[in-house]
Amino acid sequence: MNKITNLTKANTLFKVSLFCFSFLFFQINSYSQEEAVTENPEVVEENAEVAEEKAEAGNGLDGKKLFKANCAACHNVGTKKTVGPGLAGINDKRSREWLGKWIKNNAELRESGDADAVAIFEEYNKSIMPPQPVNDEEIDAILAYIQNPGTEEAAVVEEVGSGEVVEEDNSKLKCIFGAVIILLIVLIITLNKTGVFMREMEAKNEGREYDGPTSLWGNFMKLMGDNKGIVAAIVIVLFFGGLVGLMDGAFEIGVHQGYKPEQPIKFSHKIHAGDDQIDCNYCHSSARHSKTSGIPSLNVCMNCHKAIDGSDGKTFMYNGAEYSMVEEIQKIYDHLDYDPETQEYGDNPTPVKWIKIHNLPDHVYYSHEQHVTAGKQKCQTCHGPVEEMDIVEQHSPLTMKWCIDCHKETAVSTDGNGYYDDMHKRMTPEFREKVMKDGMLTVDEIGGWECAKCHY
């Protein structure tokens, strides 16, 4: 009876210590730059297909689509000036006939001496609006759309979070851990009390005075004294367990998989690369022909955001919260010292200081062009599903083991490349047979494991 009680206690204690130990390492592995976790209990699940009202022209043409295809690069349906004027209320301001002439060939209209046309031309610094290849029906459809652009754009969240919980909900987990710990403490105290009570009863039954310890600590010490072998075993196991843990931890030093810092601008890769389907290489253009993929310069942002300025009051979802587009886009303008009203650049631009996520040590010479252009690798192979990330995180561990593991498994993309044809010619049949045993030529078989491929 006694023995059993003791063992139960020992087991419990062992479990508790193991638990504490693992908790300790859980802490060690967390980052110094821990991300502020945004609570995301419920995501507004809205239907992406928000009432897309068709233009009411009745001719069956989609005015919105036509507008986007032909006009949206320079105009918007609001009142804001972009390259050209905002078109809200244009149907009231100008006659249909005039508009038709202007859209089809405004130069001709100007030359005919139309005062309004010349005035607009002067107002916009004599920039010429190219003649648009649209027929009258299409013009009607577009004008109808401008007249009534629909309500969807006013208050609707353009891009909606998919509802996935982006991060593990750590705080919930912590709550559970806390509860379990409290429960365990209560359990231990109760067990202790019960044990002492039982032994006291036993002693009473046997007609002697109970002289054993009554306190929790006293019982613990007695337990230790009675079970030296077991305690020694536990100590040894703990010591080596700790050592293994320490070594594992040491291997993790400098590995920042999952590193996900908050960036100065709430730029969502999910919106740009995922929803808008912009090719990675559009912004990271040097990935194809340079060692570095390149952080896009702000002039690349301005290719689109000169027109898309968020002035229509749209919002977007970013990491589970809703933000105003205009505020974030304004950050770009601020850095460039650009005034969207006058469309002029000031002379006091400031750089954007992004936080670098993928940091390789200085003695590693990784080349993007080697992997992207020569190796024909997808960006996602190393960077993970960036198109699903609002905040980009380090997807891969970026350890050397990770590199060489991939080099062992990945086949070299040799097809149609004269360089490899030349290399193949130089192979002896025996060598070819050896390397092609598994049906493919992997990177390590042509020296992809050698030090000087990356370190020099």
Partner: protein, 1052 residues
């Protein structure tokens, strides 16, 4: 044949000096004072660190290091706001430009990374230089990031801004009458025209050198090293004050008397590649080169026959040659036999020879012209129609200017590109004080700028627009590769501004080209012509065929010159003032890379010194040996009543009765406090007839309180006890003999016996314990072939390697300890015949003529071996052995072999046991003793210790830290880039597309880099030649670097 010579790196080795023998057996030659330290009981007891303190620090250190490792630094990534179209971060851009520093001209290619110029190589498109550069051109990129450059204009010693200084200078110039602009030779037509705007309005084209107009203003040209003698001689001989152009590629016989035409004489960069083309023994003919000289120059070391002679005898030698070629009244000299031999060769190659002389005496040069005229060289190998513009300074005009200044006849003096207070001393400094308005355009504070009222710092060449016409009809453009780092302004722009012309200098050049050069070019559109020239860097414009259709006839008075020459008297001890490859006339004196580059001949760094014949030094009781703790004798050299103090070092081959001191030293390098070396310019004799670079001198011993050490790499890293390091032969043997005679394959006794009981010799590979790597003949196998015939030893490859691979500068003290970090060194071996006369080579009977001609053997046999040795330059770097000794001994596999034949080095894995260096047969591994880029001991010398100096680092190569071994990687970063380019283009790696830093820098293309497994490559061709061998092949390490046996153009 090769083995009949004894090779030695220095006198220490020749004489088997005990220290040398002892240290050369160690891998690391430095002397570590361990016993002295431990024996110093008092000092040790006084030490404040107790054992307990030590343990505390140790514990704290370990804890701190562990904590530091856990930290995750936040790195920022800052992109461009508006990316320039041509810049891609991570990719290099190359711009064609022009280098000209007042003496060296080179069209160059500048490599920039993210807008920073980091590497300079020659522009191979140039028909003049064929891409030749020297170490100074190469290292000039470091001067761009020199923190001591002037950062703003200065007025009266205080920094000011351009508006203030412009107003002040304009006010001064307005009232000034005699405005003189003093510059080094200007080869830029636009700059000349800009100067004219200031001094003479736009009156007419500049007359060579000087332009005098009504108001007394003029442009005066002054060269630090005067070539006045040649200019005046050509004026007398041909009626044109010009420097001719030489076609060394056509010269079958070259006789040079004291002219180092491969080093620093005239347009050496335009000669050296041409010369090298004639040194290939497989061609139809190989040139024969005689060199008479006092000190051992680069040309002397490469000559077939070198005869030591005093500088006062140069005239007599020319006169004697003149006599022997048929002129009347030739002088008698002690070198009759050798001169006769030279004359015989010259006669045999009339119209295909060149005679040059380094003397600055007009009469000597007239006589040289007469000789070349007799040989019919004009119009064939020497051209006085197409002339060189690189030297225009005439001594008498400079003397006139100084006289005018003293007489108060100069109101304003504008000085650019020269430092006359430094080169002329007090005579100029005194005169300068009499000038009211003085302006210097110096980029760094120098002696003249300090004495000037205004200092208007000009841009560095890499920040400037420029054009050049170094030779008639050959133009080049220079474009800026970086915006000015400081508040500086190009000289020409300042001049234009003060002349009231508001055009930027770029627009000015463009306008000048549109008006003057474009019409001659035959191109249709100026825009295209300009863009193409800017892209190519160089353009040849056929000179307008106008009035000079008639032939230019020699009309000098040879006999008058001859009698004047014969009057030249010599002294008992003559001083010759020379220029070396690192510093030149002074251009490289403040550049740490150049100071650390061992001199190609003496192998001394960070110093100038007097060289002297070792026998004479021994007679005087001077120390002739170099070593870490050897104390050198310091002497005071007095000439022309001026005295300088320099150490004296032994130079085998130095003419007896002469000492030589290099000019250009005595400037402060980097953050050092004291100047490096001594300024020898005060010793230059300046007389009425001109400037002379030799003088009678006296020397006196100087007692110093401390021992004077010299950092010489001569006997460091000695390949020990092998006689197959250098292979050389004579042209005769090479042409007539078989490979066995001059480059026999290695064989070893096998232990097996033949039927007669003799042991059979077998080839090396029979003994190899190693199997071939399975991939040896598959894929790439990178390697090099180095032609010792065309390697001149100039050391451009050494600085090129430093620039490419971020090699640390360590300073004199550490070099002295044998810790120089250079991955590439050029071993210079002296050799002397050790065989009795009459037995010159087994199968080839020595003729009387052969013995006479083979001046070296006759001469050396009579005298001491060190009196006139012949010299071999041998570039040495990691041999990338296929069976490398270093790889097998590394306990942590930090150095391993790649499938492509490279011996790789993973610095982060290296724990610094140095076993590899110990086991390297070629002594090419370097141990990194200190954190050179941070440790305070190197703040003075290492340019990478500040942010500005670090801008020159190559981002593609890691900066090694303390405690690791490093060595030549065969520029693996360039190989990787080249392969990737081929993969991207989907084609094989074309031979020649990948170049290492050394091979691209080599002015003579002596280094061929390539793929051994590409059978069509130049490397494969070179490797299969009969001359090809590998150094100490007998140790069986199977290197990938081949050398070509040196062939001298000698009989037998």
């Amino acid at each position: 044949m090769a083995n009949s010579k004894k090779y030695w790196k220095g006198l220490e080795q020749l004489d088997n000096q005990s220290d040398f023998v002892e240290t050369s057996n160690n891998e690391f030659a430095e002397h570590l004072p361990v016993t002295e330290f431990l024996e110093d009981k008092e000092n040790l007891e006084d030490a404040s660190t107790t054992r307990r303190d030590f343990l505390k620090y140790l514990g704290f250190g370990v804890a701190a290091a562990s904590l530091a490792a856990c930290e995750t630094p936040v790195t920022k990534a800052i992109p461009y706001l508006n990316k320039p179209e041509e810049v891609t971060p991570g990719e290099a851009n190359y711009y064609a430009s022009t280098y000209y520093d007042g003496s060296d001209y080179a069209p160059i290619l500048v490599k920039t990374r993210e807008g920073r110029p980091i590497f300079i190589s020659g522009n191979k498109e140039s028909a003049l230089t064929k891409g030749a550069i020297n170490a100074r051109v190469n290292a000039s990129v470091l001067s761009l990031y020199d923190g001591n450059r002037l950062k703003a204009p200065m007025m009266g010693g205080k920094e000011t801004d351009w508006d203030t200084i412009d107003a002040a200078v304009a006010k001064d110039l307005k009232t000034a009458k005699n405005i003189k602009v003093l510059t080094s030779s200007i080869i830029s037509p636009s700059a000349k025209s800009a100067i004219e705007q200031l001094v003479g309005g736009n009156t007419e084209e500049a007359v060579e050198g000087e332009e005098v107009v009504d108001n007394g203003s003029a442009h005066i040209t002054y060269d630090s090293i005067s070539y006045s003698g040649i200019l005046e001689a050509n004026n007398e001989s041909f009626g044109k004050e010009v420097i001719p152009t030489y076609s060394f590629e056509k010269a079958k016989t070259i006789v040079s008397v004291g002219a180092d035409f491969m080093g620093n004489w005239l347009d050496a960069l335009q000669y050296v590649n041409d010369y090298a083309q004639t040194r290939k023994p497989d061609n139809k003919w190989m040139s024969k080169h005689f060199q008479f000289e006092a000190s051992m120059s680069l040309s002397g070391t490469n000559a077939d026959v070198r005869i030591p002679a005093k500088p006062s005898e140069y005239g007599a030698i020319i006169s004697s040659l003149y006599g022997k070629l048929g002129g009347s009244g030739g002088a008698k000299t002690a070198y009759d036999k050798q001169i006769a031999a030279a004359a015989k060769e010259l006669k045999a190659s009339k119209g295909e020879s060149i005679v040059v002389c380094g003397s600055n005496d007009k009469n000597v040069q007239v006589l040289v012209n007469a000789i070349n005229e007799m040989l019919g060289n004009y119009g064939k190998t020497i051209d006085v129609k197409t002339t060189s513009n690189s030297k225009q300074g005439v001594d008498s005009r400079m003397a006139e200017l100084v006289a005018d200044m003293n007489a108060g006849k100069v109101d304003a003096l504008l000085i650019d590109g020269v430092d006359p207070v430094y080169t002329m001393g007090d005579s100029f400094a005194k005169a300068l004080k009499k000038v009211k308005t003085t302006v210097s355009f110096a980029t760094k504070m120098n002696d003249t700028a300090t004495a000037c009222k205004y200092v208007c710092p000009s841009n560095h060449g890499l920040e400037s627009w420029s054009d050049a016409m170094p030779v008639t009809g050959s133009y080049s453009l220079g474009q800026p590769t970086i915006s000015p780092l400081f508040d500086t302004r190009q000289t020409e722009e300042s001049l234009l501004k003060w002349a009231g012309n508001d055009l930027s200098y770029h627009d000015y050049i463009k306008k000048y080209w549109e008006e003057n050069i474009f019409p001659q070019s035959g191109a249709t559109f100026f825009g295209d012509f300009w863009n193409k020239t800017l892209h190519d860097g160089v353009v040849e414009v056929a000179a307008a065929e106008t009035e000079e259709a008639e032939t230019i006839v020699f009309s000098g008075d040879a006999s008058k010159a001859n009698s004047a020459v014969k009057k030249i008297k010599g002294g008992t001890l003559e001083l010759e003032l020379t220029q070396n490859m690192a510093v030149g006339a002074g251009v490289g004196a403040d550049n740490p890379w150049l100071q650390e580059m061992p001199d190609p001949i003496t192998k001394i760094t960070w110093d100038n010194y007097a060289t002297m014949n070792p026998s004479e030094m021994k007679e005087k009781g001077y120390n002739v040996y170099f070593g870490q703790e050897e104390s050198m004798n310091v002497i005071a050299v007095t000439a022309n009543n001026q005295k300088i103090q320099v150490p004296v070092v032994a130079q085998p081959g130095q003419a007896r009765g002469t000492i030589s001191v290099a000019l250009g030293y005595g400037k402060v390098v980097g953050n050092m406090e004291t100047p490096t070396g001594a300024n020898a310019y005060p010793l230059v004799a300046s007389t009425k007839s001109g400037v002379s670079y030799y003088a009678d001198a006296t020397i006196a011993d100087v007692e110093l309180d401390e021992a004077y050490h010299i950092a010489c790499t001569q006997t460091q890293q000695t390949v020990m006890g092998r006689d197959s390091v250098v292979r050389e032969t004579t042209l005769d043997v090479y042409k007539k003999g078989s490979k066995e005679d001059y480059n026999p394959a290695f064989t070893l006794l096998s232990g097996d016996t033949d039927e007669h009981g003799h042991q059979i010799k077998k080839e090396l590979k029979e003994f190899d314990l190693w199997g071939d790597q399975p991939v040896k003949n598959i894929g790439h196998r990178w390697g090099m072939s180095i032609d010792m015939n065309t390697c001149t030893g100039c050391s451009a490859c050494v600085t090129s390697c430093v620039a490419e691979n971020n090699i640390a500068v360590i300073g004199k003290d550490e070099v002295r300890r044998g810790r120089i970090m250079h991955w590439m060194r050029i071993d210079r071996y002296y050799s002397s015949e050790h065989q009795p006369l009459g037995d010159v080579g087994g199968t080839h009977t020595a003729t009387k003529e052969a013995l006479d001609l083979n001046g070296i053997s006759t001469y050396t046999a009579m005298e001491n071996a060190a009196d006139n040795p012949s010299v071999v330059h041998q570039p040495m770097m990691c041999q990338h052995c296929n069976h490398a000794g270093c790889e097998t001994v590394c306990p942590v596999a930090a150095t391993t072999h790649s499938n492509e034949g490279l011996n790789m080095m993973a610095y982060n894995r290296c724990i610094g046991t140095r076993y590899c260096a110990n086991n390297c047969a070629y002594k090419v591994r370097r141990f990194n003793w200190f954190n050179y880029i941070a440790y305070h001991k190197f703040t003075e010398v290492n340019p990478s210790q500040d942010d500005l100096g670090r801008m020159v680092l190559n981002p593609d190569v890691v900066v090694r830290s303390r405690g690791v071994m490093e060595k030549c990687s065969l520029c693996v970063q360039r190989i990787q880039e080249g392969k990737l380019d081929a993969k991207k283009a989907g084609s094989k790696v074309e031979d020649g597309n990948i170049q290492t830093a050394c091979s691209i820098a080599c002015p003579t293309n002596a280094i061929t880099f390539g793929d051994h497994n590409d059978e069509g490559s130049k490397l494969a061709e070179a490797r299969n030649q009969d001359r090809a061998y590998r150094i100490i092949e007998e140790v069986g390490q199977d290197g990938n670097i081949y050398y070509q046996t040196k062939v001298r153009n000698l009989k037998a």
